[in-house]
């Protein structure tokens, strides 16, 4: 009992000295196991002591699994990799994946109307592939929107119906989020909210310059 008890405490000591949180958890889990051994070898400790050690063990193992999962490399599709390298470069790849997963992927054929002037619009879309054309009455030439551009962002920001048609100029793939879903997601994920704000600001700055 004494040896196992000292080994487990020495391991706890080492875990407190380790800087990396993953290794801290690994050593703490091993220390937990040694504590169980010490309890067993000593002929059994109090129920309270065993219960607390079990709680520590479960929490450490759960956090360890979470850390391992989060540290695994993220593989992005070529479309998302372009986003990660461009407009969403301030977002970690896993956060970008989660953001996209919160929406739905939609494919539009060339010539299909994606947004109609004056219609109620309750989704915000982001171009993943292809090109969209903004057709604004009275504008000298249609504006082309490609990969990484938002569609319907003015309606998202202002709550007003869109003032222009958006048509798929080529086969178009977008990810789109219902406004309420996106707002709730961004409220819960401040880093992603900051990154999305930066992209919206860049888009808006371009529109204000036109």
């Amino acid at each position: 009992m004494t040896i196992a008890f000292h080994v487990s405490n020495a391991l706890y000591l080492i875990s407190y000295a380790v800087k990396d949180i993953l290794w801290l958890r690994v050593v703490a889990v091993v220390a937990n196991v040694m504590t169980f051994v010490a309890i067993w070898a000593g002929g059994g400790a109090s129920v309270a002591s065993f219960a607390w050690q079990t709680v520590f063990f479960v929490i450490n193992v759960a956090r360890l699994v979470q850390l391992i999962v989060e540290r695994r490399p993220v593989r992005l599709s070529p479309e998302l990799q372009r986003l990660a390298d461009g407009a969403f470069r301030h977002l970690r790849p896993r956060e970008l994946l989660r953001l996209v997963a919160a929406g739905e992927i939609r494919d539009h054929e060339a010539g299909e109307r994606v947004i109609a002037t004056g219609d109620r619009l309750d989704t915000l879309a982001l171009v993943l592939a292809g090109t969209a054309r903004v057709e604004l009455a009275g504008a000298p030439a249609p504006v082309q929107l490609a990969h990484g551009a938002f569609l319907g962002e003015l309606a998202y920001l202002t709550g007003k119906p869109p003032a222009a048609d958006v048509v798929a100029a080529t086969a178009l793939r977008v990810v789109r989020w219902p406004h309420a879903t996106l707002r709730a997601y961004l409220e819960a994920n401040p880093d992603t909210r900051t990154a999305v704000q930066a992209v919206l600001a860049a888009d808006l700055a371009t529109k204000l310059r036109r």
């Binding site: 003015l154 920001l157 202002t158 003032a163 704000q197 919206l200 600001a201 700055a205 204000l208």
Partner: protein, 192 residues
């Protein structure tokens, strides 16, 4: 408290603040050419205010890109303001800094005044966190008891956002300020 959606009170628009050279400027000139985020800091050596400025600094370019200026107003003397601008690296086009030694602009903004907000348990906890984050509290350079605040004023002189700090570490969430800027500027883009 000021009401969002209403014109800024004349007392605030007409209040005069000083630049680093001691020259007077009407506060209303700040939104004459475009929307402005008006940030009141407690005093120039306040750790909570330094923390606020540090959080604001990375978003200045983003706000400037959509035509929104940032003006920071403290309450020390012009020399203390100059030292603050230098220390906080605020000599840049996206931001303007002034001081309000008479507290006229601060009073017209109806911001809080509280000893409890400065030395109460919440404030001391916030101060401790600011110190841990590397922000030092220096000798008072301005008004000790005033609390900060953030106002978003459109170029039409209408208040679009208002945050009235209750203690030295209380500040407007920047994501909310940027959301307000995006919505206001987008409304202008669509002609609403």
């Amino acid at each position: 408290m000021l009401a969002v959606g209403q014109p800024v009170p004349a007392a605030l628009a007409d209040a005069e603040v000083l630049d680093t050279g001691g020259a007077r400027h009407r506060v209303a000139t700040r939104w004459a050419d475009g929307d402005v985020v008006l940030v009141f800091v407690r005093h120039f050596a306040c750790a909570g205010c330094a923390e606020h400025v540090a959080a604001l600094r990375p978003r200045l370019g983003e706000l400037a890109a959509i035509g929104v200026g940032v003006t920071i107003v403290g309450s020390g003397n012009p020399d203390q303001l100059a030292a603050f601008v230098d220390r906080e690296q605020l000599a840049r086009p996206e931001v303007a800094c002034f001081t309000d030694p008479t507290l006229a602009a601060y009073r017209a903004s109806e911001l809080a005044r509280s000893k409890w907000g400065t030395i109460g348990p919440r404030a001391l906890g916030q101060l401790a966190l600011a110190r841990l984050a590397g922000f030092k509290n220096g000798a008072v350079e301005g008004d000790h008891d005033q609390q900060g605040g953030t106002l978003y004023v459109t170029r039409a002189g209408v208040l679009a956002y208002y945050h009235r700090a209750k203690s030295l570490g209380d500040r407007a969430p920047l994501v909310d300020v940027v959301d307000c800027a995006l919505a206001t500027r987008a409304a202008e883009a669509v002609g609403a």
